[in-house]
Amino acid sequence: MKEPNSNDDKIRFSRRGFIKTAGPTATAVMAGNVDQASAEMERERAEKPLGPGPVAIELNVNGTVHKVSVEPRITLLDVLRNELDLTGAKEVCDRAQCGACTVLLDDEPVNACMMLAVAVQGRKIRTIEGISPNGKMNKLQEEFVKHDAMMCGFCTPGFVTSLTNLLETVPTATDEQIMKACSGHLCRCGTYPHILKAARAAAGRTEVPS
């Protein structure tokens, strides 16, 4: 998968060529096989200036290592959406002000719009697609559907990502913990009350009728 006009013997990919000539899976390898190699590469890269031109990097997304070529200025969100076609995380504010681009980095929610892709090599990245492999819903997602905790749906993957992370850590999360987990997320349609109900239900509590 070398860039056609590249005479460099290092692995390089043209950003666009990558999408055009091969699907993301073409360069994907299972994480286990390359973890070590990538940690090695990581150490080697430290201290060496990368860029400003395209740099070949490896991203461990949803258990699969993807090789992509990006300039250091490219955000994780842009790589996920534009290179890997993982479009569940949305660009809404582009400034860490809304949570729609939330992904899990080593099992913690972060705003992918404010992260450089080069900076997260060797880290475990999990997106909404990884949370719902082959479209399979977890308990929280089922409760989201049951309680209609969405309207236009553009903020929904972000909320689901943060709340899935919360419930994986604290399966019987309190209202306070749910509120905190949601505090970095904005919804414009106003689905908050149903999100709270869905999260409560997923945490094993049924709604107290008002």
Binding site: A46, G53, G99, A119, G184
Partner: protein, 320 residues
């Protein structure tokens, strides 16, 4: 964003060696990327220091926080919650969980202005290298009411305010040498130099923060327009020793009312060695706010700051 070189630093020394006048350090990256996306900053090189010292250590008479300690780690640290509640509460009030999972101590205290004139990509204000502080005559509802210089951009670092109250010092590496800066020294330039966000030079790296345990009580309060995920309109942090309802060694700083954490020793002295009553606190608060230079948009900060002082002091005694 303009192009840049990226370096992942493995030591403070190598990070500093790679730094220069046109480089920027990357902690959590949120403040930095915001500036870069809006072309307020276009470094030739970004040095990622987020992997440097991430340790929180109890050193007997003080706490030491590595510069790369994340806000989430402070917020959830039981020892700090017990020992320095003012600090952990300040961390907890920053942005969102997503932000606190990335943001670092070094990055939070050295963050740049959030003034909406400064942050606007098409406004070249005094701080951004222009000749006018538009906040002087403009819409300054989020701005300073105490200022020495010509720029009204207030300090917005939650940790900066809390660490000031806790009498912390920042260890800063400059040209390979480390120096310890009091928080006063850390921010003082922002008050006199309208272009400065703090007293750091572009290649200064915050290596660690040292917080003495000399004050048993500490608190932090902030008032915002929203319940969560909002900047403080006014914040206040206090630290002191307390015996019964008598305070001693009180340090108290207000945030977001001045380019630097705001205090007045004379005002605080009113509370030393006297019984803590509501009227004593109100008098001290009034003295602390004496001389505020307000406009129609930010006059509200005076009563708000008085309340902040009152509640921060009450919280020292465990009251909300």
């Amino acid at each position: 964003m303009n192009k840049f070189e990226y370096i992942k630093a493995t030591t403070a020394e190598s990070a500093c060696a790679a730094a220069g006048k046109t480089t920027r350090f990357h902690g959590g990256g949120i403040d930095l990327l915001g500036e870069m996306k809006d072309y307020l900053s276009s470094p030739s090189r970004v040095i990622d220091v987020s992997g440097l010292d991430r340790s929180i250590s109890d050193e007997g008479d003080h706490w030491k926080l590595g510069g790369a300690v994340r806000l989430v780690d402070i917020e959830n640290h039981e020892g700090l919650q017990q020992s320095l509640p003012g600090l952990t509460q300040a961390a907890e009030h920053v942005g969102s969980p997503q932000i606190r999972n990335l943001a670092t101590v070094g990055g939070n205290i050295s963050q740049h202005s959030r003034c909406w004139y400064y942050r606007h990509p098409d406004v070249k204000c005094l701080k951004a290298g222009g000749s006018t502080c538009y906040a002087q005559e403009g819409i300054n509802k989020f701005h300073a009411i105490f200022f020495e210089g010509a720029c009204l951009s207030p300090v917005v670092s939650n940790l900066g305010v809390a660490l000031s109250a806790l009498d912390a010092t920042a260890r800063v590496m400059r040209a390979g040498q480390v120096r310890d800066m009091t928080m006063e020294a850390f921010y003082e330039d922002a008050d006199v130099n309208p272009r400065a966000h703090n007293s750091l030079k572009p290649d200064d790296l915050v290596v660690s923060v040292k917080i003495p345990k000399t004050r048993a009580k500490s608190s932090y309060v902030q008032f915002s327009e929203k319940e969560t995920f909002d900047w403080a309109l006014v914040s206040c942090s206090a630290a002191a020793n307390m015996e019964g309802d008598m305070l001693s060694d009180l340090r108290l700083y207000l945030g977001v009312v001045s380019p630097i954490p705001h205090t007045k020793a004379a005002a605080l002295r009113k509370l030393e060695g006297v019984r803590l009553t509501e009227s004593a606190v109100e008098q001290a608060a009034a003295a602390l706010l004496q001389g505020a230079d307000t406009s129609e948009h930010n006059r509200y900060k005076v009563p708000l700051a008085k309340t902040a002082v009152k509640r921060a002091i009450l919280a020292l005694g465990g009251k909300k």
